[in-house]
Point group: C2
Chain length 256, copies 2
């Protein structure tokens, strides 16, 4: 029986990275896409609570159905897997290919990874793909080749579920990518700079910009290191945010 | 010197839970609030990337300044700590009190906890408070008492930073709350049900509703257990999403 693969992204249903991912995945099975109508970068794990969702069929051909949803990337996953395909057995969930890296702490802000993490709640492998290039005309050739290799590895290697992978691909020609490296999330966070402008009616507004501060630039087992050294990084993701090491000392302070 | 406490929430600048939290915190120091203009429930760790942000002073009196920001809860934290207060030393960040529980996997979807987690990136203790009651007329009396107790414990006990706490308070009269319990995030996730309606122009739309499936209802060391048994739960939060146990087996499949 043909495999069934669910696909979404956060750059919206017409993004080039999504088109490239669909192209790659079609050789592995039938594809159902539910992607956001509009760009949803930075939407993290957001869901739509105060307004309803619309779903629109964009395209249908043998082996491929594409829908656009008015909500967030996570809404798309829920709409796809709990509504549209609620009765069908899924083999894989993929999200991307994102325009821009989601390595290190970016996994928290990323709509691409929000969707991939949500996909991991459905007992099938879930993979988010991101290319370390924000530009609209980014070259997705190498990213497509890496995606193909990781998907083949997961489908053949059958790692244990729950499984969610954060895959990031450096900007390079395919022949210059050194390989695929399983690694851990790099520590660090963003510090922001706000650019102030004045609108035509005299009111100030601010653009959020910033820079990532790598807290462990020397470590060689992180996703940031892998990307900086020409490797595609693969970080397995889990969602227990408990800081287990702090349970005992905090208990001594707060339990009563 | 007087302490400086930064406060935000996700229900918006005029929410009753925020008013209660401000009231509690004023006895501990001076307060600066940057809260969203509008309700931002379910916004998770989202940031605003494609539009600019507006900031508006809502109120100023000795010991208290309140601003409203047009963005998400995480935007409010960044705007507050990297712009408005960039030169001042902070002692504590608090978010809430949310209308609705953020225990278990809800920590991922929560704007309240998105803001608290972001606050934890600034080298001061950060605490998110949520009351297990979504109603607009929820009774925040017990939640305020618990918040006071946890804040006092953190300020006096000086646990190690980085520190981010996810505090959830059950619905009860103050005298019926059994205590405060440091515990871990309960495993489980949501399964959704979509309610379909038709708009006046004949197009279907969907409301996202669902139910949390507790994957370990018997475990007695989780936040869900604590809440169900009359305790306020306190989960220490960390942001390394790496599933360290999967690194080796995945490396064997994918590294090349």
């Amino acid at each position: 029986m043909e495999r069934l693969i669910f696909v979404t992204n956060d750059d919206g249903v017409s993004a080039r990275g999504l088109a490239r991912l669909i192209e790659v995945l079609r050789e592995f099975g039938n594809i159902v896409v539910v992607a956001p109508e509009t760009a949803q970068s930075g939407m993290s794990h957001a869901i739509t609570m105060s307004s309803p969702l619309y779903l629109r069929k964009v395209r249908e051909e043998p082996g491929l159905e594409v829908y656009a949803c008015s909500g967030t990337p996570v809404d798309c996953v829920k709409m796809g897997l709990d509504h549209l395909l609620a009765d069908r057995k899924m083999d894989l969930v993929c999200s991307g290919i994102n325009h821009g890296s989601n390595a290190a702490i970016n996994v928290l802000y990323s709509g691409t990874m929000g969707a991939a993490i949500e996909g991991g709640f459905y007992d099938v492998p879930s993979i988010g793909f991101s290319l370390d290039d924000h530009s609209l005309d980014a070259d997705f050739e190498a990213a497509g080749i890496v995606a193909r290799q990781v998907v083949a590895g997961v489908l053949e290697g059958r790692p244990a579920v729950p499984l969610c992978l954060n895959v990031n691909i450096p900007v390079a020609r395919p022949e210059d990518i050194k390989g695929v490296k399983v690694c851990r999330q790099c520590r660090g966070h963003w510090r922001e700079e706000f650019f102030c402008r004045r609108n035509p009616w005299g009111r100030d507004y601010f653009w959020l910009t910033g820079a990532f501060k790598n807290a462990e630039p020397e470590a060689t087992d992180t996703d940031e290191w892998a990307l900086a050294h020409g490797y595609a990084s693969v970080v397995p993701i889990q969602v227990d945010l408990t800081d287990h090491a702090q349970l005992a000392p905090l208990g001594a302070i707060l339990d009563r």
